[in-house]
């Protein structure tokens, strides 16, 4: 039975004077506020937030949660973004004291456990990729792409080369061209073969000394393994370019084949797809990148390094690669996300190769694709969408916010449209 009252907007549920969180009274000497912060710097009133009790808030969000479809409530056979069950223990462990409450400015001495964990993760991600140098900095896959492209660009600059173009097949995810543009490259989109693979002829025509990077997702966005990648890689390397593997579909091939072995020079992981970061209804992601040795000096920093001191004990430290492109975010990475990769791989043990647990996923990804599993995205998807007609955009502006006259006009127009459609 749905509680529709509780899922009204917070501002509609608000009533003046209701409180949830209450803070302790100040225990320090009482000095007039005006003496501490001059009145000219202060707001005249507190921000107009809703006023609610804790049960109001809980009921609101618990009821909202029931309006979601999720892995824990439904089978979620989504093609492009690997929805899978994650062990509850991982969520719990990421909340351990000593992990969840660790301040990023704590000294290296008092963070050795965390640094050791992150170091072993770098090692494992390098091994799984077949690309040994890893940076955990990027906050999400898209930022991993961006960081890797900057890394490539710093490498070329270091060699005195100016390369201006990034190539990718037209089946590429939108983040590929968007990241390339953000990194200052010219984007060249190549048509694919009728079967949805990289078109070698088309690639040959577009490769030249301006080529910096060829970006490709493998298995590709249609779920098929790009079996010509070794040849693609030879062609790209022949003109001095680098090959980037978008790791979005890495889950399907983890432990079966490695980007570094099929021709990639750089890649990113999406830990919520390949390992056990939760999807979280859209983030947080975490997009570690793995690259070949010769690109390691250019990686975004800090990275974690291991050393042995005079007494023979192992120590971990944060370090910036020599010619690093710099930071791509503050602090070190989405640590609490990244850290889930460790439990995932350790429990699963990639040795368990023909992973029956992921059989479904793999059937969909790799096995069936030649027989047209590109349609994976098709029927289920359309069917679901067709149940509900959602008109485009009307009110961007929050309830209780501004622009309500326009909102009303828009709403009326949309309601008229809605009636017409019915």
């Amino acid at each position: 039975m749905r509680n529709t009252q509780a899922t009204q907007l917070l501002f509609e549920l608000s009533s003046p004077g209701r409180r949830a969180a209450v803070l302790p009274r100040s225990d320090v000497p009482d000095i007039p506020l005006d003496e501490l912060i001059p009145v000219k710097y202060r707001a005249a009133t507190a921000p107009k937030l809703p006023e609610l009790s804790e049960p109001d808030v809980i009921r609101h969000f618990v009821n909202l949660s029931t309006k979601n479809m999720s892995v824990d409530t439904h089978f979620y056979p989504l093609g492009s973004c690997t929805m899978k069950y994650n062990p509850k223990r991982h969520e719990r462990l990421s909340g351990l004291s000593g992990i969840v409450d660790l301040h990023p400015h704590q000294t290296e001495d008092s963070s050795q456990g965390m640094l050791s964990l992150l170091f072993s993760m770098q090692q494992m991600l390098g091994e799984i990729a077949g690309l040994p140098a890893v940076s955990l900095q990027p906050a999400a896959g898209a930022q991993g792409e961006f960081a890797a492209l900057l890394t490539a660009s710093a490498y070329f600059r270091d060699r005195g080369e100016t390369r201006t173009r990034v190539l990718f097949p037209n089946s590429a995810h939108g983040t590929n061209p968007a990241s390339a543009a953000l990194a200052g490259f010219e984007c060249v989109q190549l048509k694919s073969t009728p079967q949805g693979f990289v078109d070698l002829e088309e690639l040959r025509k577009n490769l030249d000394e301006r080529t910096a990077v060829f970006m490709v997702t493998n298995p590709n966005t249609l779920g098929m393994f790009e079996r010509d990648l070794p040849e693609v890689s030879r062609m790209v390397h022949a003109v001095g370019g680098l090959v980037y593997i978008d790791g979005a579909n890495m889950n399907a091939i983890c432990g079966i084949t490695r980007p570094g072995d099929f021709g990639g020079d750089m890649m990113h992981y999406n830990v919520h797809k390949t390992f056990t970061g939760p999807h979280g209804a859209g983030g947080p992601g975490s997009g570690p990148i793995a690259v070949r040795d010769f690109l390691a000096p250019f990686l975004p920093g800090p990275v974690i390094v291991q050393s042995t001191d005079a007494t023979g004990s192992i120590r971990y430290a944060l370090s910036n690669p020599d010619k690093s492109i710099g930071r791509v975010r503050s602090f070190f990475g989405n640590v609490r996300r990244s850290e889930r990769q460790l439990p995932a791989r350790q429990t699963e043990g990639c040795a368990a190769r023909p992973a029956g647990g992921s059989l479904h996923a793999r059937i969909r990804r790799v096995g069936e694709s030649d027989q047209g599993f590109a349609g994976d995205h098709g029927d289920g998807y359309r069917q679901a969408s067709a149940r509900l007609w959602v008109p485009r955009s009307h009110s961007l502006f929050p309830a209780g916010g501004r622009g309500s006259a326009n909102d009303r006009a828009d709403r009326n127009r949309i309601e008229r449209n809605a009636r017409r459609v019915r």
Binding site: V57, F61, N68, P284, Q346, E348, G356, L388
Partner: protein
């Protein structure tokens, strides 16, 4: 947990259903020479019980002698987190949900993000907020890109030296490839010299980026900064501490065009620096230049209120290389935490948190500066953190505090601040509402007060 849940019989059945004989057939399209002919070289698998023990051991190495008291600041703060936030954010209907491309399957999260946007608009006093970005540093960079497009000025960005040094570094990384100059204005006195700002800004400048309270904890003259940006047609970008908005003037009040913030203080644990949440709000006229997701309210076929991803033509999945940003997702679960936090605190609660921070920080400053050899580095009003200058160098003070169980910092010597003298004698001290008078007194005593 057992990952391989299907029995051999079930596996055989599944294979039969799809017409193949073995699991390796499923990988037949991967050429044999590309297949890895050995198991990955990884540590051996652990059961749930072993894994828990392993992680507990690592976690224990992170805290020396058990409980420590946190006076660390510099962009991440030890604020109080009401239990209701974890109760909501650990609901698996939220954390195991897919990104909300299918509106009909994601109404819960979409409404929560819509409410997040509403709350952020109230907090910043601006017209429109997106559904969140990665974190505070990248939010600054995204705002800078917005400003470059809005002003059609692509060659010069001005940032104050009092902005978080890591945000400045991120901005440098983002701008390095597109040959846009990032001009940093020195802030030797803890806040900004307005004349110097006016001299640096020109009609080629896309935006002026400042932080309030700034990295040193000090309160900037925001209104004047916004005015000087406006004079040359540049946008004013304010990076703020959301907790401070329980008391300090809001970006919309002092004329900022874009406000960004690190939202960690809003109910997100420290978790060694991430994941956090990047807040970005702006005036209405810039809405089509915004990066990332925007949630809008609409009605469905039956006339019911419904929430959808909005103005998607800005985004990478439609506009590709012409998108306003390459960001794909928002920071969903963290934005949810911030939403629940602000709902629980309300106007009165947020004001109380802000006031407690101010009062306790000032008490701590008075106790610490009574110690011979320690003084405030700057004579400016500050919010919840401040810089102390230690005559005999900062390392001794930090070590002494650490030995007594207190973490202070970061030391300013860790970063570069143009124009700042004797940075190696300075460090930050942050005091949140969680610190007690007793803890502050003990810290002062440990340092010789």
């Amino acid at each position: 947990m057992a990952y391989l849940v299907n029995t051999p019989d079930q596996q055989r059945q599944m294979l039969r259903d799809i017409g193949v004989t073995s699991i390796s057939d499923l990988f037949a399209q991967i050429p044999g020479e590309l297949q890895l002919q050995r198991p990955l070289d990884l540590p051996p698998p652990l059961t749930e019980l072993e894994l828990e023990a392993h992680l507990r051991e690592l976690a224990a190495q992170n805290t020396v002698d058990g409980g420590r008291t946190c006076f660390l600041g510099g962009g991440a703060y030890d604020h109080f987190i009401p239990a209701a936030i974890d109760a909501i954010a650990t609901r698996s209907e939220f954390y195991t949900a897919y990104t909300p491309y299918q509106a009909e399957a994601s109404q819960g999260s979409l409404q929560a993000f819509f409410e997040y946007q509403s709350l952020i608009c109230q907090l910043t006093g601006l017209d429109v907020s997106n559904a969140s970005l990665y974190e505070g540093g990248t939010a600054v960079s995204e705002a800078v890109f917005m400003a470059m497009r809005a002003t059609d000025r692509h060659k010069k960005v001005v940032i104050l030296g009092s902005v978080h040094p890591e945000y400045r570094q991120v901005c440098q990384t983002y701008l390095q490839q597109i040959r846009c100059e990032l001009v940093t204005i020195p802030t030797p006195n803890g806040v900004t010299d307005l004349e110097l700002v006016a001299k640096t800004l020109d009609d080629q400048t896309a935006c002026l980026v400042f932080q309030n309270p700034n990295f040193f904890g000090a309160i900037e003259g925001c209104q004047a900064l916004c005015e000087s940006a406006r004079k040359v047609g540049a946008l004013a970008i304010a990076s703020v501490d959301p907790i401070s908005l329980g008391m300090l003037s809001r970006p919309g009040d002092y004329g900022a065009d874009i406000a960004v913030a690190e939202g960690q203080g809003l109910g997100i644990p420290l978790q060694y620096g991430g994941p956090y949440v990047g807040i970005l709000a702006c005036r209405e006229e810039f809405v089509r230049r915004m990066p990332g997701r925007l949630i809008g309210e609409t009605v469905d076929r039956e006339g019911r209120r419904t929430y959808v991803l909005n103005l998607q033509a800005r985004e990478q999945h439609i506009r590709r290389d012409k998108a306003t940003s390459n960001i794909c997702t928002n920071q969903g679960l963290m934005a949810l935490r911030a939403t629940v936090y602000l709902s629980l605190l309300g106007p009165a609660g947020l004001k109380e948190v802000a006031e407690l921070c101010v009062r306790k920080a000032h008490y701590a400053a008075s106790r610490l500066t009574a110690i011979p050899g320690i003084e405030l580095a700057f004579a400016t009003p500050y919010f919840k953190e401040f810089v102390i200058r230690c005559r005999d160098g900062v390392d001794g003070v930090l070590t002494k505090a650490r030995q007594a169980g207190f973490d202070l910092g970061p030391a300013l010597g860790k970063y570069t601040f143009p124009g700042l003298d004797r940075a190696d004698q300075c460090c930050l001290v942050a005091v949140t509402e969680k610190r007690t008078k007793q803890q502050i007194d003990r810290l002062a005593i440990a340092l010789g007060g």
